[in-house]
């Protein structure tokens, strides 16, 4: 049997995190959660590398842009998807920046789950 693809979801909003994870699990992915960039990087360090990391961009502690940069530098093989619901600057601005810094794909919130699943499969499947 083919091994499940593992996805780490980094988002500071609990409800968003669990919704994403449940949806992904229902499609056969294995999911893990982290509440901010620091926790996400720590997870990768100690608990193993997921195939894909999905990270929100605007978060209180370590924000997404920094997280993307760090993960890409330390673990270049992990595929990265940046998500954002907008904020100070238009969402797309942040997402463009995320792409520039090495995110393999960017999606804006509200997240289209099907699109998210397809993106994961395209990147890591």
């Amino acid at each position: 049997m083919k091994e499940k693809l593992s996805v780490l979801v980094i988002d500071d909003e609990e409800a968003v995190r669990s919704t994403l994870c449940e949806n992904l699990e229902s499609c056969g992915f294995e999911t893990y959660e982290a509440t901010d960039g620091d926790e996400g990087v720590e997870f990768i360090q100690h608990k193993g590398r997921p195939n894909v990391v999905i990270t929100d961009i605007i978060m209180p502690k370590k924000e997404g842009i920094e997280t993307i940069r760090e993960i890409k530098r330390r673990y270049p093989t992990i595929k990265l998807i940046a998500i954002s619901g907008g904020g100070r600057v238009k969402a797309t601005d942040f997402l463009a920046l995320a792409e520039k810094l090495g995110a393999d794909a960017v999606l804006s919130k509200p997240i289209d789950m099907e699109k998210l699943e397809n993106t994961i499969l395209e990147l890591a499947g």
């Binding site: 968003v16 961009i57 924000e63 619901g85 907008g86 100070r88 600057v89 919130k109």
Partner: protein
């Protein structure tokens, strides 16, 4: 055709007015009232171009009637009013103007010319005032919408998160219910629906808060819980701040209620917070603090609009770029803006200022380029007697002294106040406007100085901290109090400043007296220090 109302119980006087009006050639439709009660009914149901109101009425007097129809909100009566009084009744004339009449006439002076001038003046003043009121309302609303614009991106972020939850859970529930082979677990589906409901309710709450904020309502003067309002406003703006701005609250429990317009207070906060954000494009610290403070007589002397008393202070501090000195005086001017077109109307801070003045409050801005800015808003405490610790007479006696104190301060208002207070308390006071002059004063005094009260940021000079460093090379035990308009929390990077040796401006006489005494009395002057003093 002008609509005119004459309120006078004397038929002959009414006749005379009508005759004079007729001779002016004005086409008028004239109504008459013989009593206050009758006049009140007519005035409540119809607007007039001008109303002539006699002071003496059978059932009331003209001022009482004015007070009854006067609307303090608009500072207007329903129609323009010319008050008619007897000779020498200045008190009535003044009262009439106070309660919304535009002009007055002495009855013995009534003629064609005086009537036509008075009625024109009344009409013009009335119109001017009602237009101004409308314009002010419009500006206030514009300003509010401006603040909403600033909020929108943050609110969009919140909404997109909520929609992600709603759509995601709907899809899951859908998927499970439509899979004919799957075992449907009721609890699992219910959980999904609960998540959807919770997210939707959060959305409702968010919209409600936005609606409250944008509501077009007149200034109200309600009791508001200042800490709660700050917390709610912050939850509304937090996502507009961006991830790089660290927002912290330090609210004083006893700073509870003030009387002010809640919406205006929120707008004022949002405006200052958004300016703070824009001053920190690379991110930084934003701190909101509340305190109960006393602005005393001494302080009121240097600020003409301040009444001495207890105030709730709301300090909003950022660690941003600071406001350049050349524009600091203009920041509260209407339409003054440093932002590019489309980014701000320049009404924000002028509205903040207007709100504070209307609430009998006071605002101070302390700013330092490359260090940050603190806005301190003072709003009067409802209960003046409560809240703040009062020093008793005995205590005050213990706070005097005869030591020598050097005040290093470049703001002459502040230094004058400090010097006056310290001299009053018995101290010998020396003053320097800059660090360099301070060094000269110390050398001249051969170090015979017991305490230095040093401003942290001195313009055109080394700063207070470097100055003290230099002083301590010669007098290592020199006692020091640092002062600054910034809150202590914004000076945490300076390790030499601590709660014990720091005094935040503006300070009251009691605060200064207490701080000076406590620093002077701390670890009494050692023999070693005396030896050093002799050596130099």
């Amino acid at each position: 055709m002008q609509q005119i109302l004459i309120i006078d119980d004397d038929a002959i006087d009414r006749q005379a007015i009508k005759r004079h009006l007729g001779s002016t050639g004005i086409q008028a439709d004239i109504s008459e009232a013989e009593s206050g009660e009758q006049a009140f009914d007519i005035l409540s149901s119809k607007a007039f171009d001008v109303v002539f109101l006699d002071y003496q009425l059978p059932d009331t007097d003209g001022i009482s009637l004015l007070r009854k129809i006067y609307n303090p909100e608009s500072d207007l009566t329903p129609s323009p009013i010319v008050m008619l009084t007897g000779q020498g009744n200045e008190a009535v004339m003044a009262d009439a103007l106070r309660w919304g009449a535009q002009d007055y006439l002495i009855k013995s002076n009534i003629s064609r010319d005086t009537l036509s001038i008075a009625s024109r003046k009344a009409r013009e003043l009335f119109e001017l005032k009602s237009n101004r009121k409308q314009a002010e309302d419009q500006i206030r609303q514009m300003q509010k919408l401006d603040a909403v614009g600033l909020l929108t991106s943050g609110v969009a972020h919140d909404f997109n998160n909520l929609l992600t939850v709603i759509l995601g859970n709907t899809r899951l529930a859908n998927k499970r219910l439509s899979d004919e082979n799957a075992d449907i677990e009721r609890n699992d589906i219910l959980k999904k629906i609960e998540s959807i409901e919770a997210a939707a309710n959060k959305g409702v709450d968010l919209v409600k808060r936005l609606m409250v904020f944008t509501r077009q309502s007149p200034l109200s003067n309600e009791m508001i819980d200042i800490n709660q309002t700050i917390q709610e406003t912050c939850s509304l703006v937090k996502n507009s701040l961006g991830p790089m701005v660290e927002l912290n609250l330090n609210l004083c429990d006893s700073a509870s209620a003030i009387q002010a317009d809640a919406g205006q207070f929120e707008s004022a906060l949002i405006n200052i917070i958004m300016n703070a954000r824009d001053a920190m494009p690379q991110g930084g610290k934003l701190m909101i603090e509340t305190r109960i403070v006393e602005l005393d007589e001494q302080y009121a002397l240097s600020c003409p609009n301040v009444k001495p008393g207890n105030y709730i202070m709301v300090a909003i501090s950022d660690s941003g770029s600071g406001i350049p000195r050349e524009i600091i005086k203009r920041i509260f001017d209407p339409f003054f803006t440093t932002k590019s077109t489309g980014k701000g109307t320049g009404l924000g801070l002028s509205m903040v200022y207007g709100f504070i003045r209307q609430s009998n409050g006071h605002v101070q801005v302390y700013t330092e380029e490359a260090h940050g800015t603190t806005f301190k808003i003072y709003l009067p405490c409802k209960n003046q007697a409560s809240n703040i610790k009062q020093l008793n007479a005995k205590h005050e006696n213990e706070l005097t002294g005869n030591e020598t104190i050097l005040v290093v301060e470049d703001d002459s208002n502040v230094s004058n106040a400090a010097i006056t207070i310290l001299r009053y308390l018995g101290y010998r006071v020396l003053h320097a406007q800059s660090g360099n002059v301070g060094m000269q004063v110390i050398q001249k005094a051969k170090g015979d100085i017991d305490l230095i009260l040093a401003d942290v940021f001195l313009h055109d000079s080394i700063n207070g901290l470097d100055f003290i460093d230099e002083v301590r090379q010669f007098y290592p035990d020199m006692k020091v109090i640092y002062t600054s308009g910034f809150m202590k929390t914004m000076l945490d990077d300076y390790k030499e400043i601590n709660e014990k040796n720091f005094l935040s401006k503006p300070y009251s006489r009691d605060q200064l007296a207490e701080k000076v005494r406590s620093v002077l009395d701390e670890g009494e002057v050692s023999d070693e220090r005396k030896a050093i003093r002799t050596r130099y």
